[in-house]
């Protein structure tokens, strides 16, 4: 093959790859675009065929989500603010606790060798593997007996349980990336291990803590299976509330789309804030060991 031929083949594959990437980008972003567009449509525009691309924006979907304006008196607006508060409380408190426990567990698993360490690491990861419905059969009964059914406390407990495994594993990865010599020097200089942990090691994994919190928050914020079965009225979170929008009058598509947009905003903000640490946090667990 001549050099010119070789170049043209390379150029062709280059264009082919770009075309494939473009197709994927369309598949990926198209639905997001359609979600945002649909959240602004009125009922009539929503079902128009062919679809309308230019229309008068209609905020009724958002009004229903927040239970304000024209939708303030509607049935679907009932308790929306409560579920927003539930969602915020459950996901922030749950995330905070899961990250604290995960940091402690990850540190110990990264620094010490003790019997049953691998068993513990597998046990803790099993929280990610358990199908929610399997444990739900039991939680349903247990929560009723303990008075935790339909409470935010109960959901916080579930959020901690569901995320502590992930948090432990990611944090262990980050601690593995911090040289062990730091504590050794501190110990030799007469400081305690606790001091070394809080004052020297923790500040070095700040980014890791942020990334872990981001992941846990995404999962806790979007969690549906547990919340849908363990809550009935008082502690409903937003995803559960949305699923209830498919009520007697058919599915409230505008409301669902608007709720989707509202739900994604905190996650986007979180994701943007932790973007620098994301890539690191996901690989250190395996690669950092080298």
């Amino acid at each position: 093959m001549t050099k010119a031929q070789n170049d043209s083949v390379q150029k062709l594959t280059q264009w082919f790859l770009i075309a494939l990437l473009a197709v994927y980008t369309f598949y990926n972003l198209g639905p997001i675009f359609w979600l945002i567009i649909s959240s602004l449509k009125s009922r009539a525009d929503l079902f128009a065929m062919p679809p309308v691309w230019f229309f008068e924006p209609d905020l009724s979907g958002y009004q229903q989500v927040f239970g304000v304006g024209a939708a303030a008196e509607s049935a679907s607006a009932f308790g929306v603010l409560d579920s927003l508060i539930s969602s915020v409380v459950v996901s922030t408190v749950g995330t905070a606790l899961a990250v604290i426990l995960g940091t402690m567990g990850g540190y110990v698993c990264s620094r010490f060798n003790f019997t049953g360490k691998n068993d513990f690491l597998f046990f803790v990861l099993s929280t990610r593997m358990l199908p929610p419905v399997a444990v739900l059969v039991f939680y349903h009964l247990m929560f009723a007996r303990l008075g935790l059914a339909d409470t935010r406390t109960g959901l916080v407990l579930v959020a901690v349980f569901a995320n502590v495994g992930l948090a432990t594993w990611i944090m262990k990865g980050f601690f593995d990336g911090v040289p062990k010599e730091i504590e050794q020097i501190a110990l030799v200089s007469g400081y305690t291990r606790l001091y070394a942990f809080f004052r020297l090691v923790l500040p070095m994994v700040k980014g890791g803590i942020a990334a872990t919190a981001g992941f846990c928050f995404i999962f806790a914020w979007n969690e549906f299976a547990f919340a849908s079965i363990l809550t009935t009225t008082k502690a409903k979170t937003l995803p559960v509330k949305i699923s209830a929008a498919s009520g007697a009058t058919g599915i409230e598509w505008t409301q669902i789309c608007a709720a989707g947009v509202v739900l994604i905003i905190p996650v986007l903000v979180f994701f943007y804030l932790i973007r620098k640490h994301l890539l690191m946090g996901m690989t250190f667990g395996v690669l950092g060991r080298r």
């Binding site: 402690m104 593997m129 419905v133 059969v137 009964l141 699923s243 994604i264």
Partner: protein, 312 residues
Amino acid sequence: MSMQTTDATATMRATRKPAKKKSSGRLMILGFLSPTLLILIFMVAYPIFSLVFYSFHNFSALRPNAGMTPAGFDNYSYLLSDPDLWQRFVFTGKFVFLCVTLQMIIGIFVGYQLQKSFRGRDVIFTLLMMPMMLSPVVVGFLWRYMLNSEWGIVNYMLTLVGIGKVDWLGQTDAALWAAAAADTWMWTPFIILLATAAFRGIPETIYEAAEVDGASQAYVFFRITLPMSAPVLFIALILRLIDSFKQYDLFFALTGGGPGSSTETVSFAVAKTAFNYFYTGEASALAVILLCIIIGLSLILVRHLMKLGERY
């Protein structure tokens, strides 16, 4: 202070410390792990033991006062002889296979393209992550809305290119593909994230050496990039395999298990048996079967992962 005395104190300290370090270490292990262990025992071990217990009894959560009567293996033999259950396992298997294959191939491909530096990469990267941030219920409803056979945008575009309307959620096979498309849409970004991170972790010098040796692009990809990022890609595979195996939210919103009960995954069947029919004993037995499969699968995969990690 002379050099010698500082050396002496240093060695003294070094010899004195280990004993103290060990005991404080043990305290720290205990103190740092016990809260997590408590939660795991309370939220994982206790429920699983109780599930196994329930699975051998006739019991309904609706009538707790009616009590339980021992049922031996009745729940299990009933379930295992039920052709519907096998059909659910087959459906779940097909769904898992489709999802994992599609997501891994697309994710690795896009991740490989995105590790190269080009203008605006960070923006595109962040935008591509958006499907993953949505709640699975929202994803289910969004795709149900787009796939509507009458006024859905997907069928509109298909008619534009001359394919015609497809009744996506009304036929079993089409519904399987629809569910796989929705799950792939949502979770491929996760694979992209992990794959990009893994690919960027490969030292530049290795690529430079390959270039000097005149290795082709395909050779570099299959012989250097893929093997070197295998541990991370394998983690991604495990997580996706397990997650799609236990998928429930998506089907709840997208198909509701229909048409008929043809798109009910095993998870879906557990939820239905437990919370629609309230056959708690039977649901527990099904949950135990599901647990055994998932835990067995994860044990094998995690073992394999540990081996992979040791090799690199």
